[in-house]
C-alpha cells in the first residue's frame, strides 16, 4: 500500500432491502496517498457522499475492504471508529455544520478539546489557525454572526486543528459564491502544499475540479476516471 492513507478494495454499498435495493457503490478500488489534493466528482446519486462516508467509517460497506492509516475500518467497533475519526480525520461539510452555541474560536477548538489537548496549547494553535484562515479578530463571533464563507473557514480551521491524516470535504464550496469558493480552495491548497494535509473533496463544480491535483470521477457507483485533473476532457466526455 506504500504511502497510502486510504485504501479501498472491491467496496460495495447497498441501501434498502428486499426488492428495493439501491446500489450506491459497485466495486470501488481506490488508493489515496498522503499529500493528495483530490476531488471526487460525478452527477448526483453517483455515490460521492457514500464513498466519503465509507472512507470515514460513518457508513460500513456492504462488502469489500476499507483501510484508513493502516487500520481495517470494517473490523472496528463504533467507539473505535469514533476515536479514529477524532484523531485521524477532519470533516468539512457542505452546510458548514458549526455548533451554533459555540463561538468561532470554540468551534475550531472543539476537536482539540475532545482530544484532551491542554488549554494553553489549544489557544495558541486555534488563534494561529483562525489567523491562517483569515478570521483573525473574529474568534468571539457566533456562527450566526458570520457569513457563509466565514463559517466554512471556521469549519476548515476545525478540520485541520488536530492535524489529521485526512480531511474529507463534502461539497465544501457548494453554499458559497464563486469568489468565496475560490478563496476557500486557495486556503485548502495552501494547507495541502505547506502543511502536507491530505484532502479529498466531493464537488459538482468544474472550477473546483480543475483545481484538484487528482480527479476521481464516479458514475453509477463505479470509478469512471481516476487521474490528472488538469485537463477537463474526461469531465467533458462525461458531461456529454
Amino acid at each position: 500500500m506504500g504511502d497510502s492513507i486510504v485504501w479501498l478494495r472491491a467496496v460495495t454499498k447497498d441501501y434498502g432491502q428486499g426488492d428495493v435495493v439501491v446500489r450506491a457503490l459497485r466495486g470501488i478500488d481506490l488508493t489515496l496517498d498522503r499529500g493528495d489534493f483530490a476531488a471526487v466528482a460525478g452527477p448526483s446519486g453517483s455515490g460521492k457522499s457514500t464513498l466519503l462516508n465509507v472512507m470515514s467509517g460513518l457508513d460500513r460497506p456492504s462488502s469489500g475492504e476499507v483501510s484508513l492509516d493502516g487500520r481495517d475500518l470494517t473490523r472496528l467497533s463504533r467507539s473505535e471508529l469514533s476515536r479514529l475519526r477524532l484523531t485521524r480525520i477532519g470533516f468539512v461539510f457542505q452546510a458548514y455544520n458549526l455548533l451554533p452555541v459555540l463561538t468561532a474560536y470554540e468551534n475550531a477548538e472543539y476537536v482539540l478539546m475532545m482530544q484532551g489537548v491542554p488549554a494553553s496549547a489549544r489557544r495558541e494553535r486555534v488563534m494561529g489557525l483562525l489567523e491562517l484562515v483569515g478570521l483573525g479578530g473574529m474568534e468571539d463571533r457566533f456562527p450566526r454572526e458570520l457569513s457563509g464563507g466565514q463559517q466554512q473557514r471556521v469549519a476548515i480551521a476545525r478540520a485541520i486543528a488536530s492535524e489529521p491524516a485526512l480531511i474529507l470535504a463534502d461539497e465544501p464550496t457548494a453554499n458559497v459564491d464563486s469568489k468565496t469558493a475560490a478563496a476557500l480552495l486557495d486556503l485548502m491548497q495552501q494547507l495541502n502544499e505547506e502543511k502536507g494535509v491530505t484532502f479529498l473533496f466531493s464537488t459538482h463544480d468544474r472550477k473546483v475540479m480543475a483545481r484538484a491535483g487528482r480527479l476521481i470521477r464516479l458514475v453509477d457507483g463505479r470509478i469512471a476516471y481516476d487521474g490528472e485533473a488538469g485537463s477537463l476532457e474526461a469531465l467533458d466526455a462525461d458531461e456529454g
Partner: protein, 411 residues
C-alpha cells in the same frame, strides 16, 4: 467544562420554549408545595386540637374499653400514675377524663349528649374548646354542678347562662342517676356535631355523677397524655407501657379516634393521587422539552458524532441540559411556592366565607382559618423528587443518540 458550557447555552437556544417549560415547572411545583403544606397544616391542626380536646397523643385506658366502651371500665390510681407519666421525657401534660353518655333535659325538652368530665385548669391550658366560649365563662377548678354546653344544644333546650339542666345517666353500678347543673358557659366550635352533643362538666362532679372513686388516687375513663413533640410518641409510648398494670393499656390517638385517623388516611391517599398528577404534569412537560430538543438537533448531534465525539459524551451533555432545566425549575418553583405558602402560613387563609356552616371531621371542628405547614423537609423532598425524576426522564432522549443514522442525517 466545555460540556457544561455547551449544555447551558443549548438550553437557551430556544429561549421561549425553555422559559415556557420553566414556567410550567415553577407553577406546578409551587402549587404542589402550597397544597401539600396546606394539607399538612390542616391535619396537624386537626390532630393537635383533637388530641388536646379528647384523647391526648397517647392515652391510658382500661384494656377492654376500646372494644366495648362502658362507664365502669376505668383507670384506677390516676393521680399516682400521672405523676410517674409526667416524669417521662417529652410529656407536656396529662389530663384525666371521664367520658359518659346521658340525656340532657330542660323545661323545653331532652336530648342525648356526651358528657365529658374534665379538669378545668388542664383544659384551659391545652384544650381548644376552652378557648371557644362565646358566652359566660369556662369551668373553674372549684366549680361543682356547672356545665359548659354547645351553642346548638343551647338552642335545642332553650338554655342560657345560669339556667338549669338535668343530666340523666347510668352510673358504674348500672343505677339510674340524675344531677342538676347550671349552665356556666356556652361554646361554639363551628362543628354542629360537637356544639349539639358535648357537655363538659368538672371532673369531680362527673366522678360523683357516675359513682367513680374520687380522692387522691381517683378513677377516670381515660388519662390523656399530651406530648410536647408528637414525633417522640414512640419513645414515650414505650415508657408509659412500662408503668402500667395488667388491666390498663396505652393507646395512640389513632386507636381511640379511628374515624379521624381513617379520614386522614383516606385524604392522604387522595392527596397522593393529586400530587402524582401534578408530578406527572411537571415531568411530562420536561420530558416533552427534552425529547423535542434532542430530536430537532439530530443534525447537530450527527456532526458531533462524525467529528469523533463519543455517544457517552453527548449523553452527558443531554443529562446536563436536563439537570439545568430541573435545577432552575426546582429552585424557582420552591422559591415561589415557599414564599406564597410562607405568606399564608403567617397570615392564614380564612375559608369561613366559603363554608359558612363550618366543617367537622369525626366530631372535630376544622378551623376555618387554614394555616399551611411548610417545612424544609417538604421542600427538600419535593425538589429532590422532581430533580431525580427529571434526570430519569432524560434517559429516553439520551437513548435516541445511538439511533441517529449519522451518514443519512449528514447526507
Amino acid at each position: 467544562m466545555a460540556l457544561v458550557k455547551i449544555a447551558w447555552r443549548s438550553i437557551w437556544r430556544n429561549r421561549r420554549r425553555t422559559l415556557i417549560t420553566l414556567s410550567s415547572i415553577v407553577l406546578c411545583l409551587a402549587i404542589a408545595v402550597f397544597f401539600i403544606a396546606a394539607q399538612h397544616g390542616v391535619y396537624d391542626r386537626l390532630v393537635d386540637e383533637a388530641v388536646r380536646m379528647q384523647s391526648g397523643h397517647l392515652c391510658v385506658e382500661h384494656a377492654e374499653y376500646i372494644e366495648a366502651p362502658a362507664i365502669d371500665l376505668v383507670v384506677r390510681d390516676v393521680s399516682a400514675l400521672r405523676k410517674r407519666i409526667e416524669r417521662i421525657h417529652g410529656v407536656e401534660s396529662t389530663k384525666a377524663l371521664v367520658i359518659g353518655q346521658g340525656v340532657a333535659k330542660s323545661a323545653s325538652g331532652s336530648v342525648g349528649v356526651a358528657v365529658l368530665g374534665v379538669e378545668p385548669e388542664v383544659e384551659m391550658r391545652s384544650s381548644p374548646l376552652a378557648r371557644k366560649i362565646v358566652r359566660g365563662s369556662y369551668l373553674a377548678e372549684e366549680d361543682g354542678a356547672s356545665a359548659v354546653v354547645g351553642a346548638e344544644l343551647v338552642k335545642k333546650l332553650k338554655l342560657d347562662i345560669g339556667k338549669k339542666l338535668v343530666i340523666s345517666s347510668n352510673d358504674m353500678g348500672g343505677d339510674l342517676v340524675e344531677e342538676q347543673l347550671r349552665v356556666k358557659g356556652i361554646f361554639e366550635t363551628g362543628s354542629t356535631e360537637v356544639d349539639a352533643y358535648v357537655i363538659q362538666i368538672p371532673l369531680g362532679f362527673a366522678r360523683k355523677l357516675y359513682g367513680m372513686g374520687d380522692g387522691l388516687s381517683g378513677e377516670a375513663t381515660r388519662l390523656g397524655i399530651v406530648l410536647a413533640d408528637a414525633d417522640e410518641r414512640g419513645e414515650v409510648m414505650d415508657g408509659v407501657a412500662g408503668l402500667l398494670a395488667g388491666e390498663q393499656a396505652v393507646r395512640t390517638w389513632e386507636e381511640v379516634m379511628p374515624d379521624l385517623a381513617a379520614f386522614i388516611e383516606m385524604d392522604v391517599v387522595s392527596n397522593y393521587i393529586f400530587q402524582g398528577i401534578i408530578l406527572f404534569l411537571i415531568l411530562f412537560t420536561i420530558f416533552n422539552t427534552l425529547l423535542m430538543s434532542v430530536l430537532e438537533r439530530k443534525r447537530e448531534f450527527a456532526v458531533l458524532l462524525a467529528l469523533g465525539t463519543s455517544n457517552g459524551r453527548i449523553k452527558i451533555q443531554i443529562l446536563l441540559e436536563s439537570a439545568f432545566i430541573a435545577l432552575l425549575g426546582v429552585a424557582f418553583g420552591l422559591l415561589v411556592g415557599g414564599l406564597v405558602t410562607g405568606y399564608f402560613q403567617a397570615e392564614g387563609i380564612d375559608l369561613s366565607s366559603l363554608m359558612e356552616e363550618g366543617m367537622s371531621i369525626s366530631g372535630f371542628a376544622m378551623d376555618m382559618v387554614m394555616y399551611p405547614a411548610l417545612t424544609a423537609e417538604l421542600l427538600a423532598v419535593l425538589g429532590a423528587v422532581v430533580f431525580a425524576a427529571t434526570l430519569l426522564m432524560s434517559l429516553y432522549p439520551m437513548g435516541q443518540i445511538k439511533r441517529i443514522p449519522v451518514a443519512d442525517v449528514l447526507r
